[in-house]
Symmetry: D2
Subunit: 352 residues, 4 copies
Amino acid sequence: MVDAPRIGALPSGSRDSIGDVEGVTVGHATLADGPIQTGVTVIRPHGADAYRHSVPAAAVVINGFGKTLGLLQLNELGTLESPIALTNTFSVGTIYTAMIKHALRDNPAIGRMAPTLNPIVAECNDGWLNDLHAFAIREEHYGQALRSANADFDQGSVGAGRGMSCFGLKGGIGSASRVVGSESARFVVAALVLANFGRLPQLTIRGIPLGRRLAEIANEAPRVREQGSIIVVVATNAPLDHRQLRRVAMRASAGIARTGSNFGHGSGDIVIAFATNGVDAASTGSGRPPADVPDAALDPLFDAAAESTEQSIVNALFAADTVRGYADHVRRAIRECLPDWRSLFDEKADAT
Amino acid sequence: MVDAPRIGALPSGSRDSIGDVEGVTVGHATLADGPIQTGVTVIRPHGADAYRHSVPAAAVVINGFGKTLGLLQLNELGTLESPIALTNTFSVGTIYTAMIKHALRDNPAIGRMAPTLNPIVAECNDGWLNDLHAFAIREEHYGQALRSANADFDQGSVGAGRGMSCFGLKGGIGSASRVVGSESARFVVAALVLANFGRLPQLTIRGIPLGRRLAEIANEAPRVREQGSIIVVVATNAPLDHRQLRRVAMRASAGIARTGSNFGHGSGDIVIAFATNGVDAASTGSGRPPADVPDAALDPLFDAAAESTEQSIVNALFAADTVRGYADHVRRAIRECLPDWRSLFDEKADAT
Amino acid sequence: MVDAPRIGALPSGSRDSIGDVEGVTVGHATLADGPIQTGVTVIRPHGADAYRHSVPAAAVVINGFGKTLGLLQLNELGTLESPIALTNTFSVGTIYTAMIKHALRDNPAIGRMAPTLNPIVAECNDGWLNDLHAFAIREEHYGQALRSANADFDQGSVGAGRGMSCFGLKGGIGSASRVVGSESARFVVAALVLANFGRLPQLTIRGIPLGRRLAEIANEAPRVREQGSIIVVVATNAPLDHRQLRRVAMRASAGIARTGSNFGHGSGDIVIAFATNGVDAASTGSGRPPADVPDAALDPLFDAAAESTEQSIVNALFAADTVRGYADHVRRAIRECLPDWRSLFDEKADAT
Amino acid sequence: MVDAPRIGALPSGSRDSIGDVEGVTVGHATLADGPIQTGVTVIRPHGADAYRHSVPAAAVVINGFGKTLGLLQLNELGTLESPIALTNTFSVGTIYTAMIKHALRDNPAIGRMAPTLNPIVAECNDGWLNDLHAFAIREEHYGQALRSANADFDQGSVGAGRGMSCFGLKGGIGSASRVVGSESARFVVAALVLANFGRLPQLTIRGIPLGRRLAEIANEAPRVREQGSIIVVVATNAPLDHRQLRRVAMRASAGIARTGSNFGHGSGDIVIAFATNGVDAASTGSGRPPADVPDAALDPLFDAAAESTEQSIVNALFAADTVRGYADHVRRAIRECLPDWRSLFDEKADAT
């Protein structure tokens, strides 16, 4: 678990990550070599072949300044039929091709007797720290990330998060989970973010406007315009269908907002939610989970989605290491800029 | 201006209300008599006839548990061609009829040689404090609210806000404005909310989780399920078109989220944004404003939309008076529950 | 069954109407008195109380120039919890109020301990034949229509269709059904339309451009601009969920297009689809039907939705009687204008 | 101009193709070698660099079973900032990469000091005639197509259309234009389609159900399920903005429907519309065209969009040559199957 300020009141799972949703695993391929600071992160919805065993899913676009691939079909059919791959903006095409080739090995009928695969590739622009123009990501990095997928995984400056910036600090991969419900119906809702958004003066953690304080400390290089983005992946073992997952996904926006962002013009703020519990039913083609959660019981799941998203962003920041990359640009880790962060949050806890 | 904690860093207009957007006026009809605690609030986009002089507009539905009328056409044509009326859930029909009858007086060709009017009626459920089943709102209350419209207007337990609850406290009408831009291009973005949403433990003001503290103090009656909602009206004098206003409207959600809400299942969270500067161009029928704001310049307007929405909610709470109504139900004013609120926020200001 | 040209190749149910979907009934209140030529039509999804037993539903807005009420919540929750009422544009408010009052009789907790009702009221503008400004529809007409609801019902110039025009001819209410599937899984998909759209030269029936021929015959009065609309209600006994019903609803647009319309600017073209088979599951609150139709099996249902919509429009025209109304305006029945229609379609059948 | 049945009543431009919209050019790279029958088609909105001179644009997804890339940002910003590339499903990634690399040559600041490019890549599955698994499309084919772009261009079995099937016959690229308006305001609306959709028995041309007749003639190989799609690109010189282009794009669906399709489950039916006249204004970043067309004047443009889409599909069929490809699969040209087509349509013209 990431050593970071604790968001909200709900309990987390044992890992406080998306790995707490049974079956979900995450893998990284990280490229860190001078001007090349980038990578690929893969989220697998379960251990089986996702093409043959799709799961209920939905996506919400909060701000569409982004190149994420696959959401049209995901929302039309209400299912996720591939892992979700995260990478840099220029590598969306390469990873798309890699995902198809990988799926063909196990499913040679794809595109012939069987429908084509709908790969989900989401991206953020890591061009500040990474030499985007080098097109360093190759198809093999997808397989590498996939093979390393595990319920326990690294956060921070790894995988697709290697070159990402967040609130002018080092961003990257963060994840968190929340547990809701009673003994009889206990559900995990968890998030994983690729955090590459926000302007430093806006940064707010647990209601404290840290950004204004940090603005004097951090090495925030000026940029012509904000080009960041945030991709949020929400997973749950609750048996939700497409429509309900769309509602859950929308709540991730509340978590993003509480870190200080107003969904900047140049930020692709995109949420993809899926439910693992529906594996078997979904694979029949209708995307319906086997059980039934009434909408009137969704509020705890909504709270968990917002809270785990907010915690994931905070975890991305606190798990990150300082990275120097392309053109000697540097993004500093928040832990370095704010070594006394614990006392800040303790004070606040006392005050209220 | 409402005496309330100050949200954010942007300057407000002289009224800190939607009345700071030149031409915009607000009127109320308030019914406060024993079990009848309800009303109508009307927002006029400008002083002329809105049917003949429509303005660019857009609406975003964050959570669609609501009966707001008129958004299909508003989003298809990108224009607002009537005042925006707010009232209780059961009175949407009555106010719709009243708005048409009112428009017919000045435009007898409506529905014959000229297109029909598209009245915008938004609602929240005030059934806790108000005897909804009495259907107390009559058509004449629309005209009464309209006639009282003024750039200076009351907030809190007035008009449509009379019977509304917010975070288990007395809610209602709140409004705020923010000013952005340079000398040469100075824009006002302002909000008005009908605040009837939220569960008390969630209430957060300026990052302080007040709700947990207040939960012990306030007389929060248990309810079977949350049935609240929030309607946000955003106005600006910036010459934005429909698509840009849709983007601005989306940012109101960040303001709502920062007060603690995760857009509860039973809450109709709806935002309607319009631009006054486009009056003349819009009235030609295409809804395009006369000037041009590049999207890359929208971030300050987004910040202002989020901040004025958040401030409007806080103002709704702090302007509200305690109300006793239907079945002797009571909603207490936050000022009563928290007389020492100033010291709380001063402490916080010191801490950071 | 309406004596009209036969559309398509799929078999219809025994009534060739929405009454072929078990449980669905339709009732009318018709006002026909000089300048008052208007009414109300009610579609009940089943015989029980719809508030307590909601059904899966979805709506698609093809062109949003219309005032239909209730679609926000219908699409958020994926359920229909009231009958669907059709009426003229100015009477949406009155019928909304009537529907709430009616539901309160059976469910006095509505708006208090239980959520508010979401009435669905759709409308077209009958202002050419009907004195809209007279506001002739009163709340009691809703109950009158409801009480008359039956699986067998009149089509043409009745109910909400009384004053409607279609392709410059007399339009109104039309309905049709199609049956698809095998012995083991036989589904009915049926439509009911309130047809008030189209310009005469466009009218096309079974591929024959009848409108050009009729343009010389029919008494088509010039209008300042097209203000028509079409409301399509699609019902099925197939166990579809909200997302699938949205897909089915979208296919109604193909049926509309084949009659010659290009979804004119001033036409509110709106489709509402619901599934009766989900009654019990839906009433638990999640809107999920009890069984499961894979999306890959939807094509026959899509074909049936398009074909029954097209047939419903044709039936509306051929069931209509000539009506004289407001300001002595007249809309002629197509049967009158084209008494030899049978020979036309026979020729065509021979030719291909 | 393609020798094909003539659709509708509106006049076409001199080329009856999208090349009639001033500035628009189309280029192909065609691969035709045994089992490899595929290609790339590029539509350029104007002769300048599209990244620096974006144009107003909008996209509508009629059925989202497809992998089209770039629509999120196109609809958020309302602009097209790249050519539109069409190719086979498996080559979306390769062409995306090629488009970025190409844009970098002229705009080295992309992804660094300037925002990233949003390439638009749309696809259909040509796996029946083309060995999709060979991944024959390489990055260089994009440049090849781009360099060949011309206002006069081939239709039928060329470019991305090389391996496409339509109604069980040979499909591919088709294009058509329609001219509307008066002397003073004359607008061209034109379409280009990548036609790879439909089941033979549905095929309808000018209202004649040709598919049933052809079903006995054509060599329609059975397929496990329909996997076709249609991409429609609509261009106009009318000064429309994003919202209006979205309305125009929606009307393409009427043109598709009239050829017999009900938007099959497995068909990605996607429309992208852009306006060339807005080049200069759009390049300032707001996507607004310099002039103003009131929405009430859009009906002729709607008719032209539907008619040019329908004509484009018919042209794709009639321009196509029979192609033999992967696994000796064959798709026959409609001209071969129906050499007497002229007499069919003449008869019909006489009959009505």
